[in-house]
């Protein structure tokens, strides 16, 4: 059994769904999809990437043909895709739950 994904990990995986990105790009995308709430700086971000890499959820590409040779891109692996999908399903199921719906309706009303 695999551990549930952390929210930040899920967000990082989501940013990579459209294709490979480099570290700074991931940060920008995270800022975008979280409305600026998730702002990772170098330490946190690279530790997170390192962790996901060790879990086999993403892979680090060899030096790309980008303008800066220092940049490396990160790509979602199939395993990562599966993990993200199953996590989202879990969240979906949660959302479908009656209690969750009632709670949301209450907030909305």
């Amino acid at each position: 059994m695999t551990p549930p994904l952390r929210p930040v990990d899920l967000l990082v995986l989501l940013t990579l769904e459209q294709g490979a990105r480099h570290g700074y790009g991931i940060r920008q995308d995270l800022l975008g999809i979280s409305d600026g709430a998730v702002a990772l700086d170098a330490g946190n971000l690279y530790r997170c990437l390192n962790r996901l890499q060790r879990q086999g959820l993403l892979e680090r590409e060899a030096a790309g043909n980008d303008d800066d040779p220092r940049r490396r891109n990160y790509r979602l692996t199939e395993h990562g895709r599966d993990q993200a999908r199953s996590e989202l399903r879990r969240l979906e199921r949660l959302l479908a739950n009656r209690a969750a719906r009632a709670l949301l309706a209450e907030a909305g009303g």
Partner: protein
């Protein structure tokens, strides 16, 4: 990323590399370059984001961002290491985990995230690290709190040293570095006349000569004055400066509002003034339309043409600047003796100081030929002209004091650091076994190091906070107490650089003497049982304490020399009394008091009013009083005197005084009579001279002789010397004794009155003086109302200030030494107790044991004394001011007393450990 300079990039890369060092090696090598790239992207992003508030701008500034990113990296690096450490331990090996955690943190495993067996995933690592950190912090705090006796002195010493150092470095920074707020201030020079080594102001024709010689980019003159400014509801007496055209241009100061528009010829409109920023705010309510307004200065209308910027405080107290234009009479050669102009010049670019000096000397040499009747006097007195850099002229006194005080503070800081170091080392040696045991039981080296680091950072932090608070409190308290020479720096701002420097020193001390030795100790070989390095360490401690004593000796010697200088200054015969005397000034505007009769009448009325107060015994007026820093002098001719080669024309300082002047100031009359009411313009002209003039010019009796000030007049007005009075010290307490000549005001009529009142046992209130004046003339303000005692205290305040601080530092240093000797000796005694016990068992007497320890302390003191005396001798001899006043013999007298004090203090410090050693019972030590 290439838009910022390579130096900045290098610094940034260095910071990030430093932060990356916190990560495990493999992580670092993998991601280093990428993270550098990430950081530069972040910097570009920040520079493109607009910042609106100051705070935002500060937070988004490049250094702030780099620092933030570096800290974030470092914290994550530590977190990564911790999570790996946790992961490396097998989650099932609970026993060893608990053991090591317990040993290193002093507590058994209560970590909230200790492995939960029924949860398959790994726990979050961060909380573990934070829990460890809090544990370590609490442990550090506990271990510090448990030893207040060791740590309170360390913290107090470091804090005190830091406060003193920060404060006086800030002061020195303000005085020594760029004290003049002018553009290219190093090009600014004062031009003054010289009589040998003595410097005086210029006369108008001298100034004209220097202006014509045009060796300077620009040259301007000014003379201080005091004017009555009429505002809507009252009259203010304010300090003013009359300045020639080009004054502001020379200084390179542009008006904040308007432009001065100084007249350049007699024909121009001269009724313009420039006001200071302060005056603009206080008297004109920062009115933006003030330019063009008419104000009344000394009862004449003037138009405000400019408001100067607040940075212009030159001359120091001036709040209004008036134009100064000379007429033909003032520029005539016979006015050359009238030396009252201060001149400031800006050097032509490319002209060196030496070239400019030569130029003004040549100009002065030409002058001597222009005045045949004074030529011999001038050349005999070594008359010439010279230039001095303006900042040196203005701040030389302040500089030497700032140097002295900040070096004394630095010495104190060094002693504080060394002493704190010694105490920390003593503490370390006590803890060594504890640390080693922990390491043996399996404490992680990383955890031990963190903990030591934390402990010492805590000490440094405590000292830093305390030191900063102390420095702030002292800065607030000292700002107002600064002597006038340093008064320009009343806004004593703490210098950030000084603060960072001292804080850095404190951190370095705690790490060097606290963390490092303990760390090394905890790792040293177990089998050595702590014997290793003990000899070396104890020698190091001794050397440190010896050095400390040496520095304290230097400080004590300095304090001794200053004390000697101060007692000499305060024991100088002033020649007049300051007790129970009050003085104030009144300046009569020439528009209302155009002639001498009206001024005499005013002085008469004022003095008779003041004398009618019941407590007043004497009152008198003069053009100026001793110690108020003003000077007026010239030459005179005794009857029958002929110019002889090599013999200077007699010169003296002139004072215009009313009758009762000598009684009011308590100046002793030596011969002849006092001035009296009958010495009027209708009576025969009279004069009094002082002892110095009498001894110099009439060694065989002065009373009855006659002098004149103008030999060419027709008829020559001869003044009879009717009395001789005691000499008084005038401007500088320490200056040369200049002959004095006293002229009766009833035969003159001064405009600028300084009134002195002698009221034994009671003080005169300012309100009373103002009320009396208001009855006579409501538009005249009294100003500079001040007891003479206060004036005198001000004159000696700088030496007093220096003395106070240097002796305070020296006393503190001595206490530090006491502590240092005490702690080193008690440690030695503790470490050598088995050996001492053995000695006692073998028949050593208590007395000999005691003397051994005492001798140990005295040996350190002796070496410290020798070293300190050598350094102190070299230093004191090189200090200009002190060399003049401290003779060789008195230096050795100081050395003797300092040696006595030191030896006594150190013997005192050694007594307790010596007694403790002597009380060693052989049985107890042999048993242990």
């Amino acid at each position: 990323m290439s838009e910022h300079p390579p130096a900045a990039r290098r610094t940034r890369r260095w910071w990030i590399r430093w932060a990356l060092a916190f990560f495990p090696r493999d992580f670092r090598t993998t991601y280093a370059e990428e993270i550098q790239d990430f950081v530069s992207c972040r910097l570009t992003e920040a520079s493109e984001t607009p910042a609106y508030t100051l705070l935002e701008r500060a937070c988004r500034s490049r250094p702030a961002l780099v620092l933030r990113l570096a800290v974030e990296l470092a914290a994550n690096g530590l977190a990564e290491r911790c999570s790996r450490l946790d992961a490396a331990r097998s989650p099932t090996d609970q026993r060893s985990r608990c053991q090591s955690a317990a040993v290193s943190s002093g507590q058994f495993c209560h970590e909230p995230n200790a492995v939960q067996p029924n949860h398959a995933r790994l726990p979050h690592r961060r909380p573990v690290m934070i829990a460890n950190l809090t544990l370590d912090l609490r442990h550090a705090w506990r271990s510090l709190r448990g030893q207040p006796a060791t740590l309170a002195p360390v913290v107090a010493m470091l804090a005190l040293g830091m406060a003193a150092c920060t404060l006086f470095f800030s002061l020195a920074g303000a005085v020594l570095i760029d004290p003049l707020p002018f553009e290219a201030a190093d090009e600014l020079m004062t031009v003054r006349n010289r009589y040998g080594d003595d410097r005086t102001a210029l006369s108008p024709p001298d100034f004209q000569d220097h202006l014509r010689a045009s060796g300077f980019a620009s040259l301007a003159a000014w003379t201080p004055s005091s004017v009555a400014l009429e505002t809507r509801d009252r009259v203010l007496q304010i300090e003013a400066a009359r300045t020639t055209p080009g004054f502001f241009e020379t200084l390179g100061v542009a008006a904040a509002l308007g432009s001065p528009g100084w007249p350049t010829t007699q024909a121009d409109d001269q009724a313009v003034v420039a006001i200071s920023h302060d005056l603009w705010v206080t008297a004109f309510g920062s009115d933006p339309d003030v330019i063009g307004q008419t104000i009344r200065v000394d009862r004449s209308p003037f138009t405000i043409s400019a408001v100067m910027p607040s940075s212009l405080e030159f001359p120091r107290t001036a709040s209004i600047w008036l134009p100064l234009v000379f007429d033909a009479d003032q520029l005539a050669d016979q006015n050359r003796g009238n030396e009252y102009l201060e001149a400031v010049a800006r050097l032509e670019p490319g002209v060196s100081f030496a070239q400019a000096t030569e130029l003004v000397e040549n100009t002065a040499a030409n002058v001597i030929e222009l005045v045949p009747d004074r030529a011999s006097y001038l050349s005999d007195n070594g008359w010439s002209a010279g230039i001095t850099p303006l900042d040196e002229h203005e701040f030389s006194e302040a500089r030497s004091s700032a140097w002295m005080l900040s070096s004394a503070a630095a010495l104190l800081m060094i002693i504080a650091c060394v002493n704190a170091g010694v105490l920390l080392m003593v503490r370390t040696s006590r803890r060594r076994s504890e640390l080693r045991t922990r390491a043996l039981l399996g404490a992680q080296p990383f955890r031990l190091a963190t903990q030591l680091l934390l402990e010492n950072t805590l000490i440094a932090g405590l000292a830093g906070v305390l030191g900063l608070g102390l420095a702030l409190a002292l800065a607030a308290g000292l700002g107002s107490a600064l002597p006038s020479e340093l008064a320009r720096f009343q806004r004593l701002d703490l210098d950030l650089q000084a603060l960072v420097l001292t804080l850095g020193l404190v951190l370095l001390t705690t790490f060097l003497f606290g963390a490092l030795p303990s760390w090394a100790g905890s790792r040293s070989d177990v089998s050595s049982r702590g014997q290793m390095g003990r000899r070396g360490l104890s020698r190091l401690r001794r050397v440190l304490v010896t050095q400390e004593i040496a520095i304290a000796v230097v400080l004590l010697l300095g304090a001794g020399a200053l004390l000697q200088e101060f007692t000499r200054l305060s024991s100088l015969e002033l020649g007049f009394e300051v007790r129970d005397r009050t003085s104030f000034r009144v300046t009569l505007p020439s528009s209302a008091y155009p002639d001498r009769e009206s001024r005499r009448a005013f002085a008469d009325e004022l003095l008779s009013d003041v004398r009618s107060w019941p407590e007043v015994r004497h009152a008198a007026a003069a053009d100026r009083l001793p110690l108020d820093g003003r000077r007026w002098g010239g030459t005179f001719y005794p009857e029958g005197w002929t110019a002889a080669p090599g013999e200077p024309t007699p010169g003296a300082e002139f004072n215009v005084v009313t009758e009762d002047y000598f009684a009011t100031l308590g100046i002793q009359r030596l011969e002849g009579r006092d001035l009296h009411v009958a010495d009027t313009a209708d009576g025969p002209p009279v004069v009094l001279i002082d002892r110095v003039a009498a001894e110099r010019y009439w060694p065989d009796g002065a009373v009855g002789r006659r002098i004149t000030f103008d030999r060419e007049a027709d008829p020559v007005q001869w003044r009879e010397i009717v009395g001789v009075v005691e000499h008084v010290r005038r401007e500088e307490l320490d200056g040369l004794a200049r002959p004095q000549v006293y002229l009766p005001n009833r035969q003159g009529g001064i405009r600028d009155l300084t009134v002195a009142v002698f009221a034994p046992g009671s003080s005169i209130s300012a309100e009373r003086i103002s009320a009396t004046l208001a009855r006579l003339d409501p538009s005249l303000p009294a100003f500079a109302i001040e007891p003479l005692e206060q004036k005198y205290q001000t004159a000696v305040s700088l030496p007093r200030y220096r003395l106070f601080f240097v002796s305070a530092f020296a006393a503190t240093a001595l206490i530090y030494c006491l502590l240092g000797v005490y702690s080193v000796l008690s440690l030695t005694v503790r470490q050598r107790r088995p050996e001492i016990g053995l000695r006692v068992a073998l028949g050593s007497s208590t007395r000999s044991v005691m003397f051994r320890v005492l001798g140990d302390g005295l040996q350190m003191t002796g070496w410290g004394l020798v070293l300190g005396t050598a350094v102190g001798y070299a230093t004191l001899r090189s200090l200009e001011g002190l060399r003049a006043t401290t003779s060789e013999a008195s230096f050795w007298a100081i050395v003797a007393s300092v040696a006595g004090i030191c030896l006594a203090a150190c013997a005192l410090a050694a007594v307790v450990p010596a007694r403790s050693a002597a009380s060693t019972h052989p049985a107890t030590t042999l048993r242990s």
